[in-house]
Each structure stands twice: as C-alpha cells, then as structure tokens.
Subunit: 468 residues, 3 copies
Amino acid sequence: MLLTDPDRLFPTEPDARALARDIYLSIADMPILSPHGHCDPRWFAENARFPNPAELFVIPDHYVFRMLVSQGVSLDALGIPRVDGTTSETDPRDIWRRFAAHYHLFRGTPSALWLEHSFAHVFGMDAPLTAENADDCYDHIDTRLAEEAFRPRALFDRFGIEVLATTEGALDDLAWHRKIRASGWPGRVITTYRPDAVIDPEFEGFTSNLDRLGEMTGEDTTTWLGYLNAHRVRRAHFREFGATATDHGHPTARTENLTQTDAEALFLKARAGTCTPNEAEAFRGQMLTEMARMSLDDGMVMQIHPGSWRNHAASVFAGYGRDKGFDIPTRTDYVAALKPLLDVVGMDPRATIIVFTLDETTYGRELAPLAGAYPALRLGPPWWFFDSPDGIRRFREVTTETCGFYNTVGFNDDTRAFCSIPARHDVSRRADCAYLAGLVRSGRLRQEDAFELARDLTYGLAKSAYRL
Amino acid sequence: MLLTDPDRLFPTEPDARALARDIYLSIADMPILSPHGHCDPRWFAENARFPNPAELFVIPDHYVFRMLVSQGVSLDALGIPRVDGTTSETDPRDIWRRFAAHYHLFRGTPSALWLEHSFAHVFGMDAPLTAENADDCYDHIDTRLAEEAFRPRALFDRFGIEVLATTEGALDDLAWHRKIRASGWPGRVITTYRPDAVIDPEFEGFTSNLDRLGEMTGEDTTTWLGYLNAHRVRRAHFREFGATATDHGHPTARTENLTQTDAEALFLKARAGTCTPNEAEAFRGQMLTEMARMSLDDGMVMQIHPGSWRNHAASVFAGYGRDKGFDIPTRTDYVAALKPLLDVVGMDPRATIIVFTLDETTYGRELAPLAGAYPALRLGPPWWFFDSPDGIRRFREVTTETCGFYNTVGFNDDTRAFCSIPARHDVSRRADCAYLAGLVRSGRLRQEDAFELARDLTYGLAKSAYRL
Amino acid sequence: MLLTDPDRLFPTEPDARALARDIYLSIADMPILSPHGHCDPRWFAENARFPNPAELFVIPDHYVFRMLVSQGVSLDALGIPRVDGTTSETDPRDIWRRFAAHYHLFRGTPSALWLEHSFAHVFGMDAPLTAENADDCYDHIDTRLAEEAFRPRALFDRFGIEVLATTEGALDDLAWHRKIRASGWPGRVITTYRPDAVIDPEFEGFTSNLDRLGEMTGEDTTTWLGYLNAHRVRRAHFREFGATATDHGHPTARTENLTQTDAEALFLKARAGTCTPNEAEAFRGQMLTEMARMSLDDGMVMQIHPGSWRNHAASVFAGYGRDKGFDIPTRTDYVAALKPLLDVVGMDPRATIIVFTLDETTYGRELAPLAGAYPALRLGPPWWFFDSPDGIRRFREVTTETCGFYNTVGFNDDTRAFCSIPARHDVSRRADCAYLAGLVRSGRLRQEDAFELARDLTYGLAKSAYRL
C-alpha cells in the first residue's frame, strides 16, 4: 500500500484528473523557491544531525502538538518546554508514542498530508503511523537521521531548494548567516528583515531594543531621524546577507501617513513608554509607511501579516510562552487600514507590498479588489490555517475572478518544520494544478495557458515578486 | 417515480458516488442520537394522535410558513395564532391547500428534502405535492395519523431514536417528563437545562422569574450566592430527568470573569431591573462563566447558541409573538468574547463547551482555530439556516483542515418538527459521507478511516460529547 | 480552434454536463431582459457607429483597464482622460496594442469570458488576442464597426434584447430617451430614477442640485414637503420614459424612520450644508424610507446598492475622476440597517425592494434570511466583482437553501459595455443551469422543475420583479 496517493488533490472526474496530472507533471520537479519561512539558519551553518523524531516532527511544530492538546493531552506530556526552563517529559520515544496514539486526530488535515509526505518521500516509510507501529517508525526515522544524507544541507539539496529565506529580527547579529557564507557551502539561504521588536511600542523591552539598535548602527535612536537612519543601516546590513524582503507581523493592517512632526512626537512617546494602545497602533501604522518609503530606495519587498490574536490562552502563555498553537485569527480590515500607505506608494510600480490575511472574508471583498487596482499591491498565498488544499482552492476561487493570477506571488511555506517544505510546496502545486484543470475543463482557460500559468504559480511569480 | 433519490446528496462522479454510497450504507441504520432539540415532551407523555397534516407540517414549523410569508401569503391565512388568542384561518385543509399551491417555493431548499423524506418514508407517498393533489395528500396523511403506528411513541421507535433531548426552561416543572417516567414507557426522552429566563436581565418578567426560582428551590434568590445555589438545585433536578446538558441562547457570545464582588453588585442591579443594556450583556456573560464552573462540578455539557436577532419584524412580533421565522443572524465574535470563559475553564479537559454559530465566517477564522487548541471547546454542527446539504459541506470544508473531525460533536436536529428528525439525520449522514468519499478519492483520507469516521460522526462523537 | 467552448461553465462530470447543456439549450435563445445597467441612451438615440476598438472595449470599461493598471500600465497610456480634459495617449491602435500585450492578465477572469464571447460571437473572430495579432484584430473589429449591422440599434436587435434599462440622475433631462421615443424605433429602452445627487447631502453641489430640482418640477425644494413633492414629480416624469425602478447607490444600507418633524429638521440642515457625516448618513437613510413610501403609491421597484468605498485612490480620483476601477467593497450590515425601512414597508406585498451586496458574507447570514421572511424584500443577483461564474455559484449555493429561488430576481448585467450584454447574460444562464443540473444530479431537485426554474431565472423573475 502506498502511503501517499499519486493522484492526491486532483479532481475526481477522470478527464479533469488526467489534465491536472499532466499539468502537475510538467512542474513537479521545478526548484523550490521559499521566500518566506522560519527555518533556523543554524541548521545550515552547523549541518548537525536532527536529534530525534520527536524533536523533528512534534516538539517544534505547533500545528502538530496543539491538535493533541485540543483533545486533552497536556503540553508537558508532549515535551514542550516551560518558560522556567524545565521540561516535564524528556523521553522523545514516549512523546512519539503519544503522538502516534493520537494520530487519528489529523484525519482530513493538511498536517496529515505533510507528515505522510515526509514519512513516505523523505524517510521511505510505507505504512500509516499507528499506536502499534510507533516504535518501529521511531527507530526507522532515528536511523535515517544518523545518516549523512539526512543532515540539513543534504536534505536542502535533495529537496531541490533554490532559495530559502529565513526570518531574523532587526537586532539579530546574523551570525549563523555569516557562518553559512563563510563555509563556502553554495546553498542559497537568505535572511529577511523583521523589525517588530524595534517598531512595536508594546513589544517586550521596546526602549532597550531601541538602545541596542542604536549601538548596532551607530545612529542616535533617541531621535526620530536617527531611528529612521538606524533602520536604513540595518536594512542595508540584512541585504548583505541576501535579504530581498521585510516582514511585519502587526495585530492589524492599520497604516498612517502622519506629518513628520506628528510622527516624531509619537516616536518620542513610544520611546518613553507612554503610548496609549491606540497611539502604539498608530506608531506601528506609521512605521509601515516609513518602511514602504525605504523600500522605494533600497528595493526591499514588504510583507504585511496582520490579524492574529497572539497567545490567546493566558495560562499557556504564562507557562510555555509564545508560539504554542494558541494564536487565533481575528476579523481584519484592509480597505480603510491600508489607505494611508496606499496613498503614498500604492500607485508606484517600483513598490511591491505583499499582503497576507487570516480572515478569508477579505479575499473577495477587500484584497482582490485592492490588488486588482493598485500597482504596488500583491496578494500573498493563503496563510497558516489556510495553507491547505481547501484553503488554496478557496483563495483561487475567490480572488482569481477579480485580480487574476498575476497579482498573486506564488507559494510561501512559512514553516519552521524543515521536512515539511517539499510536502507543502507539493500540496500547493497540486492544488493549483487542480484548479487550473478545472478552469480548462469548464472552458474558462485555454489548455496551453494552464501549462504556462502552472510554471508561473510554481516559480515565476515568486521569483519576480520577491526579486530573487 | 420515486419521491426521494436513493443516491441523493452523494457526489456526481461515479466512483466517488459509489464510495459515498458504501460508506453511507454502513451507517444508515445506526440509531439516532438527538441530544439537542425542541420536541414537545407532552407528545410522549400522552401519546395522543397528531391532529392533522397542517398542524403537523405547517403551523408549528417556521422554516415552512415563513417561506410562504416571504412571497406574500399572510400569517393569518396559514393559521398562525395571534397573540390575542384568535386565529383567522381555522380550516386545516385550506391551510394545506395554500401550502401545496406554494410548494414550488421550496425547490432547492432543505425543507423540501425533509418534507419529501417524511412524505415518502414516514407516510408512504410517492408523488410530489402539488396544488392538484393537495386534497389527496391531505387525506392520505390524515388517515395515517389516525393509526396507532403513527402515534408519537410508535414513531419514536420506528425512527430508531436511542435518545431524544427536549429543552425546558429553568422554571419548567418537568411534569411531562415526570409523566413519561411514570408511564413505564422505555423510550429515552431526556430534558436539557435552559435557564435564559432566569439569567437574562432583559427577559420578560426577569425579577419575578427569580422569585419563582427561589420558591422552587428553597434558596434565597435575592442574594447572589442564593441565586447561584438555586441554579445548582435546578440543575440537579434536571439531571434527575436525564439532563446531560445546559443550553444558552444569548444574543452574543460575550463572557465575563468578574470578581465575585463585582458579580454580586451586577446581580443586584439585574434583579432590581436597573441594568443598562451593556450591564445586562455583562451579566449574561458572567453567568456563562458561572454555568461553566458548575459544569465542572456536576458534569453537565454546556451549549452556547449566540448570534440571532430575535423577532426582527416589529409588526410580526406584536401580532404573533416569538419564533415566527423572523429571527435573523448577525455578525458574531468569539475570539474576544469567549476569552474570559476560556481563561477559567478552557484548558480543563473535564469541561465540554459546545459552541454554535449563525455566522459562517467564524468557522475558519475563529471557531476551528479555538476548538483546535482549547481542550474544553467543541464545535456544534451547522445550525438552523446552515443545517442543509451545502451548509454541512461548507462546515466540513472550512473546519476540518484546522480542527479535524474530533473537535466536532456529530449532528443535532434542533427541531420542533418531529417527523423531520429522521430526515434531518439522514441528510447529515449523507452529506458527511459525501464529504468523506471526496477526501478518500482525492487522496486525503484512507478508505478504512472513512468508514470509522462515518460511525463516529453518526454516533460516537455525539455519544461522548453529550455524555449520553 | 474555437474561441469559446460550447460547453463552457457546465459541470465536468459527463452526466451532469449533459443535463446542464440540455437545460441551457432550452433557454439559451430567450430574450434578454436588462432591467439594470449603465448603457448610454445616446447610442440608441443617434445610432452612430462605435468609433474604434479601443473606445469600445478598453477606455470605457474599468473592469478592463484597471487590470492593466494593477500591473503598472499607467492610466495615461490607456487613453483614460484626465479631469482637466487632456488625454495623454490618443492613438486608439497604440492603446489596443497595450491591451493585447497584457491580455494574459485576464486569464481566469470573467472579463476574459465576456471579451472572448464578444470577439467570437459579435465580431466573428476565431483566435485569442495576442501581442502578435493585435493589429489584425484591431483592423477586423474596426472594419466590422463601420458596417450598418454593427450600429447600436442593429446590435440591440441581434442581441435579442427585449428591454434595456439605462440609469439617469434625477436632474437628467432625458433628452436621449425623448429622442429615442421620437424616432419611432421600436426598441424598448427605458430609464431608471437615480436620485443620489439630490438625496446625498455629501454629493458635489447638493444645494444647487436641490435648486435645480425645484426649477425642473415647479416645487419649492427649500421645504421638506416641497422637496418630497419634487421627487414625486420627477418619478412620474421618469415613468413617462418607461421607468419601473429607482436605484440608490449609498455607502451603507442604513435606513431611518424619523418623525416627519425630525426629518424636516434634518432636511433643512442638509440643504444648508451643515450636516455632520452621521447626519448625512441619517438623511440618506431617511430618504430610502421616503422612496419606499412613494413606491407604494407609484409602483416603482426600489434597488439598494450599498457597500462600495468609491474612489479609494486619492491620486487617481484627483487626476482622472470617478469610476476608474478604484471602488473597493467594504463590510456591510443589513440586519440593523434595513430594520427601520422594513418596519415601514417590509410586510407589504405591494412593495418590492431589491437589495444588492458587495459583501458576500451577508448572503447567508443576513440577506437570504431577510428575503426568506419579508414579503417586500428580494435579492439582486451577484453584483460587480461577483458577477462571475464562481460568484454566481456561491450566490446560489449560499442563498438558495435559505430563501429559495423565488426571492431572487434573475440577472442584471449592470454594464456600460454594450457588447458584453449578451456575454454576461450567457455566463449567468450557463452558471445557473450548471447549478440546477447539480441539484438534479444530487437528488435535490426534480428534472422537470429544473427546466421550469431555468426559464424563471432567465426571464420570468426579472419580468415580474421589475414589473416589465
């Protein structure tokens, strides 16, 4: 029995299926561009083996462990470290057994598709994970991980990755990226400028973060102009390590276009820690516009990821910290929120602003109409909870009729689970080919155009939008 | 000609259809669990015949009569009683003829599926209802209703109902439930604790309702602690009549976690009738959290049904009262609204809180992410307007990829139309089997898992979630 | 190669496809009713030739040119006139070449379907437009446009249009309509009463518009009662030119039912130009209710089109004016907003109020439940961005189960692109037939009812709802 169906995610009607398969086969082996994600650059700098199956598949992946938590398994029992540095369960095999015993929870989810793609195509397994074969699977994966061919750089090559972007905070010293460069390894791992910690007045340690930013850049970050210059210096530094993009994870999409006098006054309040919540939001919004202005100068692509209520469960945040599966989407407005920014750079074809959403209702009502008009605006792929077969289908069905394909930017895996990268790109490619085949079979697209589009959705759009 | 298609609601592609049929046939005859509904317990206590076809199918069913009203038939002409006790049209045959003459309005609606399932499978009819055969149909049904086999208890058995939950207000004396118990009839009809009238400060007669609650329980409901104790006493009383769940029909999902001092002060204002609308909302929200705390003690499952603007048409409410088809869904927020409650019991696997919605946009954005993380939270099935083939499909397509199947609770019929119970469960089973077959045929689910899931969605999940 | 697929937009499964085709063929040649649109009545009054392909297909169609703008082509380069009266690019052939060079942007969009329908079925072309054949296509179309058979009246006949409604402002002198009448040409081109400029206190020149309204009607529009009378006079005048409907393009769906004293006070503020934004919104809302009251007297159908943020891009509006593709949908509420109006006329079967939306989330949550209850309310077809194959499918899938087909009003093309009229109606007919075939094949609709419904959706519902 095959662990993955060769025709998975294709339409069920035989002619549409055959066409989807043909389109897919024409692009299945194209290189992977991963212009937005959260892999650890240390993996590629050190090229050490991954420690064990639980630390590869369960502990770092909040998509996976939160599903078990939702059914009553404790974070402790899954080896999630507490903020005090302790870990309750330290035996990776026990963690793996718990994961296997609850594996039925993933039925119908993209996590199952990604995991089984990795099990089958990375690790050569051929049976579904069960409570019964948990130990065998563990041993099988663990043995493979000890092999040279399963080290990070070897997998990077085997996965066919042409570019992999990681994401580093503005204050990161980029030491791992430096080490990758110094090593002479030709894999193209680039960084991304993520300045939330020095842009968000509500971020932990904002004022001291600004001090540190001043030290790193030699700019006077107690002044508005010095602070802006410090961003310019850091952006240039990130560009030395390949960065072509910035990334902004704000609670909302609010932007502002204040006079420089008002912006300066707001900056001084932010620095002094005296902003109201609304002023903090306004400052974040002003900084999006400032970042867009800098992008016109240095050519960095801008990514805006709003709409997540981070750390929703008070007790989980207190006990285990950030990124533990309790980030919940919220309603997000773009039409009013982006207007100040768009009035500054929206009509400038030199700018590229890629917008993501966790609120699918905005695809058709707000984002596609905006991206189908403003030359600076592009739509990021379906993000996070919506990076899934049905999520991708809905994204295409709701956006294409209004803004077409060419105002979208191809796929992002956005993952910190390295082995899921080829799996996620494969799901995206299959889902897009299924959509294209459906358009052809319903007389809405010429067949030769579908083949060309598949190449663009797989490779060309990401290459050009992210300026890779 | 068959009145119902044996393959209805299955996919059209032949292989997927065959698989859906196979899965369906494996669960089609499983017993019905109906853990949430509005049947009248008197039916089973008295076991009297249903009076006539109009009183069975038209007059009590706002799904049915509001569709005729929407096309200009008056409520009077359909025999809907006025609040002053009068009824304009008293001839059930005339009402039935009007219903038949407008039957085309139901094309494409779940009401048509339910009605025709009843006509065909309960009453043995084989032709669609038309203006021409209205009298024949009336006579046919009326004749059947006179037979012993069409009395409530006989139908209960014939429908294969294992458990039927009704819903009673906190002040209900449960006399009909008592009579069912006393009768020795083995049918399992249980009650549900619905305390809106003694929890909602804006409910008609709230203060006197509290007095009555005090009388019934011997607790001092002029005090906050006495009031909470009175709830505990009533909950225990409802549990004697089988209740495993409470039900809360609030305008919004707002919850609160006030200090007991603040809660007490708010209670005193509520009791005095001096709450502002916002305070009334806060009090309802606080009581959801109190109910959740009591659930940890007595094991009752909690159901929250927010988001209906009741009695939207002023003239209909004034003339005919509640539940006349003019309850309209509104936008509903869960992420902020449920946080106070979830911070109290959300991480406790002993709690089960089932949330429903009339705002489909919350499935993917709010409810599935919440249910896919918090162990106490489960998603109720698509409710009311969305209890329909496409409604069920959208529910599965949008929630499964994020929270899987096991954070949902099977099907509720939620009906006051007794004959529609098997029809509604059949629609749900078919729609779920169609979805499962689609997952299998697109390589997203193993076939044997689909069969197991069908049993869980039909029976297992409702059994465990409602602790039946 | 055919430019359009004869089976386009039908389901892919062969039996469903065959049935959809059969249903479609039974209605494909029915006359076109176009009860809501923006064609220029001058075309039919003068019957002059259309000047050239660019002025027919590109310059007047914001669906088309905004897609090129979104990818960096300037409005100037597409010949869009500036508000100062100048035009940068004046060579229609150069504009056409730019359009052809970017034609791939329309892949998967309804614009491509409409354009290719026109190219193939109006102009007899048989190859897709490309940069290479741009000149040939230009010459081909231009040659045809010189022929008598391609003049407006000839096309009107050839398109099979039974009624075409244009839209004129309340202050329009209806001179072109008068000329059409005087010409003796039997084509039925009727007007629609669009009073935004004399109802919206924020409209450019509102006060002088009221003066003009007074002059045109002989009523004293400095008083509330005179102002209302002036509307009555203009409505009657429009009715002489065939109007059966009014149209209201407000930012939101807000309605009011003020006392006549309060309404009068608000009118005086509006006239004096001293309304706050909220008061302006209230006045527009009050006027919707006044228009509804007048509809009870004169039988005019009322259309409400809320939810567009007009002229979102400041620089585009400043440089090029209105209707340049930068109108963006916004979240829209109907449940609270329409209640004042519905409490006045909602239960009156003599009233017909057709509501449109640009917020698809309201279909299932708000609009279908409202239309499925209130006899005065009907749902307009999917509008603007959602007048597309998937938009139509979603509209039917989400509304039908709640309000059925008979609370909808057939199709509107809503276009100012004359040649797209048959294309748009054809897309709508095919999409509806595909939906009907799917219902039949999944056992939710009887086959003979599908054929009857197809006729109603194509012709009958528009005829009756718009009282044509």
